[in-house]
Structures are given as C-alpha cells and as structure tokens.
C-alpha cells in the first residue's frame, strides 16, 4: 500500500518531463522548416481565406509529397499580433495591407509582401431575407438586428468606408471581432443583415443570401501574402508562388475573390 503512491508520483514527474521534451521538439520543428520532404510550413491566414486556403493547402500537399501545411485562421490583426509575439508562422496572408504593414514594420517579414487577391463587401442576409432588407440604407434601421465588424478589424474598416461613401449611419447591434463572427450571426438568423465579404456569402452556401446593393464595392480589400519568421523557408516561398499561380488564382476566383 505504501509503495503505490510513490510510484504514481514518479510516473507523473516522468510524464511531465516527457511533455516538456515533446513540446520543445515540436517547437523547434516549426521554427526551422527546410526544403526536404517532411517539412511542415505553418500558414497564418485571415479568417475570410478559410475555405480557399484549406483547398490550396490540400492541393499543395498533393503536389509536394511529404510536405505538410498547417493552417491557422483568425482575424488578421490577431494573427499579426501573434506573429509579432513570436508565433511560429512561415507564411502570413492578411485581409488588408495595413495589417501586413504592421508586421513588415516590425521586421517580422522574411520577404516582400505581394497582393494575391482582392475582396469586396456584400450586403448579406439570412436565407429568405426575414428582415426584408433591400439596400445599404436598411443598415440604419433600428428595428433590424444588424451585425457588422468592429472598426478595429479590416472588415470593419471596409464597412466604415462603404457606409461613409453611401452617407449612412449604421445602427449595429453587435460589432464583431472578425468577419466569420458576423457571418455566424446571419447563418443562425440572429441578425437580419450584415456586411461580410463577397467570399463569405459564397462560403456560407444556402444559409445566407446576398442582397444586390449599390455602393458595397466602395472599399476594395487587397490581400497581401508574405513569408514571415526567423528562417526563410523555400517551402514557404513555393507555397506563396502556388497561391499566385494560375491554379491558385482559380481556387480563389471560385471562392469569390477578385484578381489582384
């Protein structure tokens, strides 16, 4: 009876040490990706790129046996902050140039950012348009539940530009952290209308409809991509080239992106 707990403690200590060793290992792998087969590159991409980059990564992996593309999606600004705090990313694809500039200014890019796609906003409503939304002016309707991106994030800045250009003071009920959160409000029917990227309407399928509205293209977001991190990775450069290739551009066009 007296021996058992002691053995348990030893095992716990051993597993704790093993855990540290393991985590140290995977960390160093992510920091120094090489060209050799078996390389892993970590791609940080804006939330609006989720579907298209998942497909691009799969095609890239298929064309480069042994190479693994790890994807992390989020608000561009959040991803930029993570990269500046030393997150092990090899490629960063942002939803706007200002965010990429923030990373470049901190010398965290390992190459010149290049614009690979553009995106415009769309006035989106849940399937069936329960709020009877017909145009941008409806975003000022207090009786409708309106979801927009917070002005601090790229889709929110774009929304502000569009609304300013149309002379509309919106009456939002929620200002979300990223565009996918706005989309979720529409998919769940919690919001009657929102401004999301055209690509998000495509991605949401039947759950969300686009209302053709004048003025939504007043803001064109350019999506820059750049290698980041301490070690410049050939695989990362190849991935960026693939995104900008005809095949890559085809995937992006299908998702609703515009050409750079």
């Amino acid at each position: 009876m007296t021996r058992r707990p002691r053995r348990g403690a030893g095992a716990a200590a051993a597993s704790a040490v093993a855990l540290i060793a393991l985590s140290g290992c995977s960390g160093s792998d992510a920091f120094t990706p090489g060209d050799e087969p078996g390389a892993t590159i970590t791609v940080f991409a804006a939330a609006s790129l989720t579907e298209s980059f998942e497909q691009l990564a799969a095609e890239f992996e298929a064309a480069h046996p042994g190479v693994e593309v790890a994807l992390s999606f989020g608000g561009s600004a959040t991803l930029a902050s993570q990269i500046l705090e030393g997150a092990p990313a090899d490629v960063f694809a942002a939803a706007d140039e200002a965010t990429m500039q923030r990373v470049a200014d901190a010398d965290a890019t390992a190459g010149e950012p290049q614009v690979f796609a553009t995106n415009v906003l769309a006035l989106a409503v849940p399937a069936g348009n329960p709020g009877g939304v017909t145009g941008l002016a409806d975003l000022a309707d207090d009786d409708l539940a309106i979801a927009l991106c917070a002005p601090e994030v790229p889709c929110g800045a774009a929304a502000a530009t569009v609304l300013d250009a149309a002379g509309i003071t919106a009456a939002p009920d929620t200002l979300e952290q990223d565009v996918k959160a706005v989309l979720t409000r529409l998919v769940l029917g919690e919001a009657d209308a929102g401004l999301v990227y055209r690509t998000d309407v495509v991605a949401a399928g039947d759950a969300v409809e686009q209302v053709e509205a004048e003025g939504t293209d007043a803001a064109v977001n350019a999506y820059p991509i750049a290698p980041v991190g301490r070690a410049e990775s050939a695989t990362a450069r190849e991935f960026i080239a693939f995104v900008r290739s005809d095949a890559g551009q085809g995937v992006l066009a299908d998702a609703g992106f515009g050409a750079p």
């Binding site: 030893g10 704790a16 539940a145 979801a147 601090e152 929620t174 200002l175 409000r185 769940l188």
Partner: protein, 299 residues
C-alpha cells in the same frame, strides 16, 4: 473546484481519519504537517514547475504592462464604459445568482436523503455548466434564447422580444457560468453546518421557513458571502458565453474581457491595461476572501 470548496470534515488535515483516533478530534495543524513527513525532491521540482506555469504568464503581464501610459489607458472612455458595464452586469448577475442559487444549494444539501440517481442528476446539473467551455454555454444559450431558439423563437414571435445583443443577454450569460460557484460554496457551508441547531429550532416550534430564515441562513452566511464574491468575480471575467450569445457593442454588451480581446486587434497596450485591471480585481477579491471569510469557509 467543488470538491476542494466543500469543507469536508477532514479537509483540514487532508488525510483520512486514522484508525484508533476518534473521528472529529483533529490534531493541531503543525502536528499534522509534521506527521505528513517531508516531500520527495522530485515532487518539489514538479510542484515548482506547476507554480511557474500558473505564475509566469501573470508575471509577464505585469512586466510588459505599459506602466507609464497605464493611467491614461484605464481611464479612456471606451475602457471606462466597458468597466461600468462589467460592474453593473456582474452585480446584477450576482444578485440573480444569490436569489436562485441559495435555494438550489439548499435543495442540493437536502438531496442527501434522496435516492442516489436523483441526487447524482441534481449534482451533475450544477457541475456540467462549471466544466463546460463558456463558448459552449454561449451556443447553448443561443439555441435556447436566440431568435430561432426553443424559447427565444416563441418570445420573438409572440411578444416581439429578442434577447441576444442586449445587456440582459450579458447578465444571462454571466448567471449561467457563475451560478455553480455560488451553489457549491453555499452547499459546502450547509453540509458543514451543525444540523442539530436546526433540529433544536424545529423542536422549539419554529416553522420550516423560520428555521431557514433565522437559523440556517445566518449559519451559512460566510459561505453565502464567499460564494457571492466568487460568483461576482467569475461573472466579471465572463468572455466566451458573452461574446457568443450577447455580442459586442460598446455600452450595451462589450464588457471588459470582450473589450480586452478586441483591443488586442488594434491596441495591444490597451488590451494589457484591461487585463491588468481584471487581474487587480481578482487579487483584490482574493485578499477580501482571506481577511473576511476564510475562518467561516475554506473557500
């Protein structure tokens, strides 16, 4: 959490009662520590590692804080607006938790006499929200009270009332995640209380309600207070369920944690300042609990 909060009869020594020693008679604290013997060195090393895991992130937060700009940052209009909303909603949530949670704690304490399956079900109902990631709680609330939710759909159609995106939704999210803390704190105090006092009151002719009001409640008051403070702190820090269920609009639903998360997108210094503010509240609560209520309840 619930287990450690319940003042079990032997929680003070951390050891099961030994044969030969009458139950209820405990050695003084120092004797108990001496009897436990010295820790194996390996355990000490791992324990220090554990301490580092818990403390180092907070140390980094304090070290990296923009101390020079801090006064300006925490008194900026958006932060004050979020602070005000946080304090108001967390206070309301705590009051609601007290009103609903104390009776539930009493029910839980009385369920000791109920059949085992019922007792376990009751306990699980209180424990599960405690273990759930708050985002899951937010999704569940949305499915119940959202415009297309089980109850929310009916509310919207019949009364034209929608709950998401309102300050009320923030309070509901906070109540959902923080009530278990109060329930378990109060239940712990109840099961540690001396039942004989209640029985004596009943024998002397007090009604059930009088016993509860004049005997039970004062008896567990320290537990209620400790539970209320824990509940308030948890409500103040609520993020996942709030952003999922209530949304994020300045002055309406954007509480401090939500504001901190958004600030990280544009102004990391502001995010750190808000984080420090919340850390300061947590530390203040800890001090408050230690000085006032620890003798009553080992919270």
């Amino acid at each position: 959490m619930p287990a450690s909060e319940r003042p079990e009869p032997d929680a003070g020594t951390g050891a099961p009662p030994r044969p030969g020693r009458p139950r209820g008679i405990r050695p003084a604290r120092s004797t108990a520590a001496a009897r436990r013997g010295r820790m194996p060195a390996a355990l000490v090393v791992v324990a220090i590692l554990a301490l580092a895991v818990l403390m180092l992130p907070l140390v980094a937060l304090v070290v990296r804080a923009p101390w020079a700009d801090l006064p300006a940052l925490v008194t900026s209009a958006p932060v004050l607006e979020a602070l005000r909303l946080s304090l108001v909603t967390a206070t309301i949530a705590t009051v609601v938790c007290l009103a609903l949670g104390v009776p539930l704690a009493v029910l839980l304490a009385h369920s000791a006499d109920a059949p085992a399956p019922l007792r376990r079900l009751l306990r699980a109902a209180v424990t599960v929200p405690l273990l759930l990631p708050p985002v899951v709680g937010g999704i569940a609330l949305l499915l119940l009270l959202g415009r297309r939710g089980l109850i929310g759909g009916w509310l919207a159609e019949t009364w034209g009332v929608t709950i998401p995106f309102t300050t009320g939704a923030v309070v509901i999210a906070q109540v959902f995640v923080s009530m278990p803390f109060l329930v378990f704190a109060v239940e712990g105090a109840l099961s540690g209380a001396d039942r004989r006092v209640e029985q004596a009151a009943a024998t002397l002719g007090a009604s059930r309600w009088q016993v509860f009001r004049h005997v039970t409640l004062p008896l567990v008051a320290p537990g209620v207070a400790a539970g209320a403070v824990l509940c308030f702190t948890r409500a103040l820090g609520e993020f996942g369920a709030t952003i999922t269920f209530a949304g994020s609009l300045p002055g309406v639903t954007r509480t401090l944690p939500v504001a901190s998360y958004l600030a990280l997108q544009s102004d990391p210094d502001e995010a750190i300042a808000i984080a420090l503010l919340l850390l300061a509240v947590a530390v203040a609560v800890l001090l408050l609990l230690r000085d006032r209520w620890v003798p009553g309840v080992r919270a």
